[in-house]
């Protein structure tokens, strides 16, 4: 008969005598870095990194850098969406702010070395809009390292503010999605409106860009680091807590976890990543505009993540490369029809391959080991999606006491 457990208050610690005999059981926790991931990752990194040696097309080189930035952006979306269950349709806000800080700084420095036709040592778009000199509040941006720090910090702080305002009041689901969408649209409008400071419609162009192999390796390194950090995060106790919050936030809250704080934390990490992606992008590509901060780009990131597989970390990479790569190869031939394919792809992924490419493959592999059929795999995925989206109903999530239908 099992002995009772007694809580030793006086000692402060909990001495727990056994409830039942505890045999040595087998439980295999998933490994941090499975062998296939390590090998695959090394191959991919090597392929991309060595492109400057076996390829000579400068355009493809520039695409590689761009795609990597997009992939990091999609990864940031996966972190908050796939793992924490928050859909932000305005992630581009953080990408855009990061990009604009860096671009402005580079542009200002460029202008100082390459005076305009009228001799002004400040960006041409400012001159066109009637400014006579660099605005005072922009002077600190002359210092590029400072601008980079701002590019990373300002979006993160903005995300913190947003998180505290909305998550602390349990505003999730569709309301959060709509608010972030509006946020993105407003930023885009603001960029266009204040064109004297931002370049407006034309964006910021003609500044030195860094599309060199060395910078490609830098971007690649950053991407790998972020991927490893994300893996560590989702693999750790925090990751398990996040997944438990995603699955049942009421239970988590009544089990002592401050759900809002966890969500804010991930949101800030995700914003930081998106900002880094934007900063790298601005430096790599040499042109940025309001489009990089607007809702369309935000949702593109969501599409890449959905196609690649949310909640899988490598899914976003694959999604971004696949969709953007296909666009590069096909849009020439298909022109506008390409957009229809993208839209159709989105609908297809949503209806059929909910877990995306990587997710579905993962499901199949896992289930094959247990001998389930393809239909069963799909059905389980359906049910999971149904259960997880209860807090997307307009009336809010059903009370925890109500049976899940």
């Amino acid at each position: 008969m099992a002995e009772a457990v007694v809580r030793d208050e006086a000692q402060g610690a909990t001495t727990q005598r056994k409830l039942a005999p505890a045999p040595r059981r087998q439980y295999r926790a998933p490994t941090f870095l499975p062998l296939w991931a390590l090998i695959g990752g090394v191959i991919v990194v090597a392929l991309i990194g060595s492109y400057p040696y076996y390829g000579s097309n400068a355009y493809v080189l520039s695409l590689l850098g761009k795609f990597l930035c997009f992939a990091i952006f999609a990864l940031s979306i996966d972190l908050i969406w796939g793992f924490t269950g928050i859909l932000s349709l305005g992630q581009a806000v953080y990408f855009g702010i990061g990009a604009y800080f860096v671009a402005l700084s580079l542009k200002i420095n460029y202008a100082m070395d390459h005076p305009t036709r009228y001799g002004g040592k400040f960006p041409d778009f400012m001159e066109w809009n009637g400014l006579t000199e660099l605005p005072h509040f922009m002077r600190p941006l002359i210092n590029t390292p400072f601008a980079v720090v701002c590019a990373l910090l300002v979006p993160t702080l903005l995300a913190l503010l947003f998180g505290v305002i909305t998550f602390k009041r349990h505003i999730y689901g569709v309301y959060c999605a709509v608010i972030t969408l509006a946020e993105s649209l407003i930023l885009q409008d603001a960029i266009i409106e204040y064109q004297a400071y931002t370049g407006g419609f034309n964006g910021i162009t003609d500044y030195s860009n860094y599309a060199t192999p060395a910078f490609l390796w830098f971007i690649l390194a950053v991407a790998v680091v972020f991927l490893i950090v994300s893996r560590a995060l989702t693999h750790s106790r925090v990751g398990t807590v996040l997944k438990s919050i995603r699955d049942n936030d009421v239970r988590a809250e009544f089990m002592g976890y401050n759900v809002a704080n966890y969500r804010i934390f991930v949101f800030c990490v995700s914003a930081f990543m998106a900002a880094a992606a934007g900063a790298l992008y601005a430096a790599w590509v040499g042109i940025i505009s309001f489009l990089d901060a607007g809702p369309v780009f935000s949702i593109e990131g969501v599409i890449w993540t959905a196609v690649g597989g949310r909640g899988t970390l490598i899914g976003p990479f694959i999604g971004a490369f696949l969709v953007k790569g296909a666009e590069f190869f096909l849009s020439g031939a298909l022109a506008s029809w390409w957009q229809i394919i993208v839209g159709g792809l989105f609908v297809f992924v949503v209806l059929v391959m909910r877990d995306g490419i990587v997710g579905t493959i993962g499901n199949l592999l896992r289930k094959r080991r247990k001998g389930a059929t393809f239909e069963e795999v799909m059905e389980e995925s359906d049910q999971r999606a149904h259960d997880r989206q209860l807090d997307w109903q307009p009336g809010g999530p059903p009370p925890a006491d109500e049976p899940v239908r």
Partner: protein, 290 residues
């Protein structure tokens, strides 16, 4: 200055009307059917293009309204049967899927009509304006919009609350399984309500076409505005549509006048966020309880 503010306040009524007209279709689809329709803007756009076609064929806005209702309503039927019916219990997926539909619609319209802007004129009878206050005349068309908004609100109210169909719709919304057991054809209800909501979006498009030029991207800002109206006013409530539209419309008009457009929108946005903090489901929103 005060006179200007009053003028703005009055002209704000038409902005309120525009918001209400645009948001009604979404209120039906989201509030009643629970579908997060990201193609709402594109549906409005299709309605506007329908009005353009009607205009080219010699009709005016009054003729365009029923045509747009039918055209976009049928389009909604196709979307519902093809895509939406599989994902009613997964609202997040309706968001994503309808976004895809929106993209497709945009491109299709651009392929059919080309990228240039269209101009749809107001009916002759509604051109010009009348004196209310100050020196600028109040356009007749704006008054027409206000009338349309009221009419549409009443129409929706009547359909949802006074008809048999509306009763069935509300039953299905509350409890799909039991309604099915009680003999209500849930599939038919779903189709009807979605098509009706899309039809309303079509009417919105036809009615809003003369305000700005018609282009393939005109719909998106209306969609975002409609969502803001619902978020603020409360999903699933007609009072919410009216209140949300009124608050946002007036606030945006007056603030845009005092500052500028972008700051006006930003302030309204912040205002909405503050209100949501206090009433997370919107002013007239409901928490589903047993």
């Amino acid at each position: 200055m005060l006179q200007s503010i009053i003028t703005q306040f009055l002209s704000g009524f038409s902005v309120v009307a525009i918001l209400v007209i645009a948001a009604l279709g979404l209120a039906i689809i989201f509030g009643v059917a629970g579908v997060i329709n990201m193609a709402h803007g594109e549906l409005i756009m299709v309605g506007a293009y329908t009005a353009a076609v009607v205009g080219k064929l010699g009709g005016n806005t009054f003729a365009a309204i029923p045509v747009a209702f039918v055209v976009v309503g049928l389009l909604g039927l196709v979307i519902e049967r093809g895509i939406i019916q599989w994902i009613y219990d997964r609202p997040l997926e309706t968001l994503l899927a309808t976004w895809g539909v929106g993209i497709i619609l945009q491109v299709l319209i651009k392929l059919i009509f080309g990228p240039e802007l269209y101009y749809v004129g107001a009916p002759k009878i509604l051109e010009g304006g009348f004196r209310v206050i100050g020196r600028l005349p109040f356009p007749w068309y704006r008054l027409f919009l206000i009338v349309m908004a009221v009419l549409l609100l009443l129409l929706v109210f009547y359909v949802i609350f006074k008809t048999d169909l509306g009763l069935k719709v509300r039953a299905v919304r509350r409890n799909r399984a039991i309604s099915g057991c009680l003999g209500i054809d849930t599939a038919k209800i779903d189709m009807t309500i979605f098509a009706f909501g899309c039809g309303l979006a079509g009417i919105a498009g036809a009615v809003l076409a003369p305000i700005k030029s018609v282009s393939t991207t005109m719909g998106f800002p209306y969609a975002v505005d409609s969502y803001m109206v619902l978020v603020l006013g409360g999903v699933g409530s007609l009072w919410g549509v009216l209140t949300g539209g009124a608050l946002i419309g007036e606030a945006e008009t007056i603030l845009s006048f005092i500052f500028n457009n972008v700051i006006g929108r930003l302030l309204v946005f912040l205002f909405i966020v503050i209100i949501i903090r206090i009433v997370p489901r919107g002013i007239f929103g409901y928490y589903e309880r047993r």
